[in-house]
């Protein structure tokens, strides 16, 4: 691993051991070099049991845990997901993330080099998102009781004054948009799983969405009815959640779904449906039809959402159901995923 910008501190151990989680000297040294020196800020440096601060206005609060395997994948690592995931959850509530907590459960034996790389990634991701780590926790469990490392981040931020994001605000005729191409993250992970070995240049789409959502709300305010990022379970799950929570039906067009050709090919090969594959850097948006075209043009003009597309609409027909018009003109129901998507036999 290349640490030209920030070399791994000299340490007595090559790997994390149980002593590093004991709360004693080893923990102290680990935290000093790996956390406080890396993330130093006025709140974290207090080294209190918790961070104290003021926030003026309505706040949103979110938490998420990250258990991805492998830890390092094309396009990023667990550190990217841990920051962007929680920042994005807050963005989906219409909030700009400000402070994050960072909790680690490390499996004994994790290489120091890998832990360092993850922390450097978290540092870069927080700088990029404009958030600070203000509190955290580190535990170490015995070998075999973890999967390298599990991370939890919780985040807090102020809700945008013009945000009116709630499924109750969704109206018949509203437009459904997606901010970028589908299925990249899930297929990037799949390409690393044992036994697949397909040559592909698929990279995860992990990125923060708070800046674009903030700009979008600045401009379009209550025209944005609903936001959600289609992570596990994919776009199909998000659309089903919306259909289930409202009295409306949703219609989408298969030919309008943006997807990279290589990603689509990988899904085909394994018998996976891109609608159910995880994404980490895009969001689905339900918006007032009156602003849909302008919103689309706005998204396409921004870095990170150039592949945004209008994919469907909210309808009074088939309430509670998501129907997709296939490329060839037929119709099918898009249901919730049941269990894990398992590649088929033949």
């Amino acid at each position: 691993m290349d640490f030209a910008n920030c070399p791994l501190p000299k340490f007595d151990f090559d790997t994390i051991n149980l002593g590093h989680g004991s709360g004693g000297l080893l923990t102290h040294r680990l935290l000093q070099s790996f956390v406080f020196d890396v993330f130093g800020n006025d709140k974290l440096d207090q080294q209190h049991d918790g961070a104290t601060f003021h926030l003026n206005g309505p706040v949103a609060f979110s938490t998420d845990s990250y258990v991805v395997s492998p830890l390092f994948f094309p396009g990023g690592n667990i550190g990217d997901l841990a920051v962007n995931g929680t920042v994005n959850d807050l963005a989906m509530c219409g909030a700009a993330a400000k402070y994050l907590s960072l909790g680690f459960i490390i499996e004994e034996g994790l290489k120091m080099e890998e832990f360092w790389a993850i922390l450097q990634t978290i540092k870069a991701a927080t700088a990029n998102a404009g958030v600070q780590i203000v509190t955290g926790d580190t535990k170490v469990v015995e070998k075999g009781k973890g999967d390298g490392i599990f991370i939890n981040t919780s985040g807090i931020g102020l809700v945008h004054p013009k945000a009116r994001i709630h499924h109750q605000n969704i109206r018949e005729g509203d437009a459904i948009l997606i901010s970028g191409k589908l299925a990249a993250h899930g297929m990037a992970i799949m390409s690393q799983r044992q036994g697949l070995g397909f040559d592909a240049s698929i990279v995860s789409d992990t990125r923060n969405l708070n800046h674009i959502v903030s700009a979008m709300l600045d401009r379009f305010g209550e025209g944005i009815r609903f936001l959600r990022d289609p992570t596990r379970g994919g776009l199909a799950s998000v659309l089903n959640e919306v259909a289930g929570q409202t009295t409306h039906g949703l219609t989408i067009r298969q030919s309008a779904l943006p997807i990279d050709e290589e990603v689509d090919g990988a899904c085909e090969m394994l018998g996976l449906d891109p609608l159910y594959v995880a994404n980490e850097g895009i969001f689905a948006c339900v918006a007032d039809a009156a602003i849909a075209d302008e919103l689309l043009a706005f998204l396409q003009g921004e870095e990170g959402s150039r592949d945004a597309a209008l994919i469907g609409s909210v309808t009074a027909e088939h309430p509670g159901k998501v129907i997709m018009q296939s490329r060839i003109g037929g119709k099918r129901v898009v249901n919730y995923l049941t269990g894990e998507q398992l590649p088929r036999i033949c």
């Binding site: 036994g195 060839i328 033949c346």
Partner: protein, 368 residues
Amino acid sequence: MKFLSEYRDPEAVQQYLREIHAITTKPWTLMEICGGQTHSLVKNGILDMLPEKITMVHGPGCPVCVTSVSVIDEAVWLAKQPNVMLCSFGDMLRVPGSKESLLEVKSTGADVRILYSPLEAVELAQQNPEKEVVFFAVGFETTAPANALSVVHADRLGVENYSILASHVLVPPAMEAILGDPENKIDAFLAAGHVCTIMGVEEYHPIAEKYRCPIVVTGFEPVDLLQGIYMAVKQLEEGQYKVENQYARSVQVEGNKLARETIGEVFIVGDRAWRGIGTIPASGYDVNERYKRYNARLKFTIEAGDALEDPTCISGEIMKGLKKPKQCPNFGKSCRPEHPLGAPMVSSEGACAAYFHYAQDPVEEPSH
């Protein structure tokens, strides 16, 4: 992606639909053999676009669905043995056995691995010499060559801690069983394109002759299916009963010679019990005498107990095409993908799963 985009072209689809509507004058019942074809028909909304006179009935071409409960129980027993690593294609994991599925057994700590190729299982056997690696070798003729190859490969490498639990099923005997059933309503078949890629088309001629039944070897994309339906209906309207090959870009008359030789090297034909249908003579592959040390049924003394099918599951009638999934009283109620009563609701190629996931008619939500 050229083949895919050509065979998904919306204009070509509309053209074939027009042609099919134009030539259909009488009611006909067609069966597509392969579960992948069923899914493609339902997923693309093709069933609703065909003329009303054409009824598509869904055949037993889902190897997961037809794997008998007793075989699942055998796999579950093996998975529970402390030194066994049970390897399987993903689909098989959710199928219920008499008591539990492989996924349930995995969640209690059994070493069950999802693999994409049986050759990986041989590698795992090499990497884990203290374990007995068993590959759950399921499928039609399509997956048989790779499974056979894994045995040949293990033999060449001298890998002794590997075996397969063979449960292959063959298409032509199943077609004969369906056509020979007094309740049979099928007028023509769309034969399974990938099975025929391996085996060729010759074994279908005697069936077409004997039962005076058109058989069109068909692919899986929307245009493939519509071409196949068109060719079958045209034969029926003209009173013909030939074997035709729609899927010529993949299927040759003689099939894949090397694949057939590999199958012949390792397997012999034997009787097989089909879930929901019963035993069909000479309808499966077993490991032959030469490679018997790679036969998991001989290597282990498997105690699988009495296989208990859920008596309320009508998968046999579904797979013979006698009933549609929505005609089952349990469909969408006590039988849903998250708690299936039988394999056709679980398998990614099962007819019941296809209807549940894609078909538009509302499914009643169970009351909570």
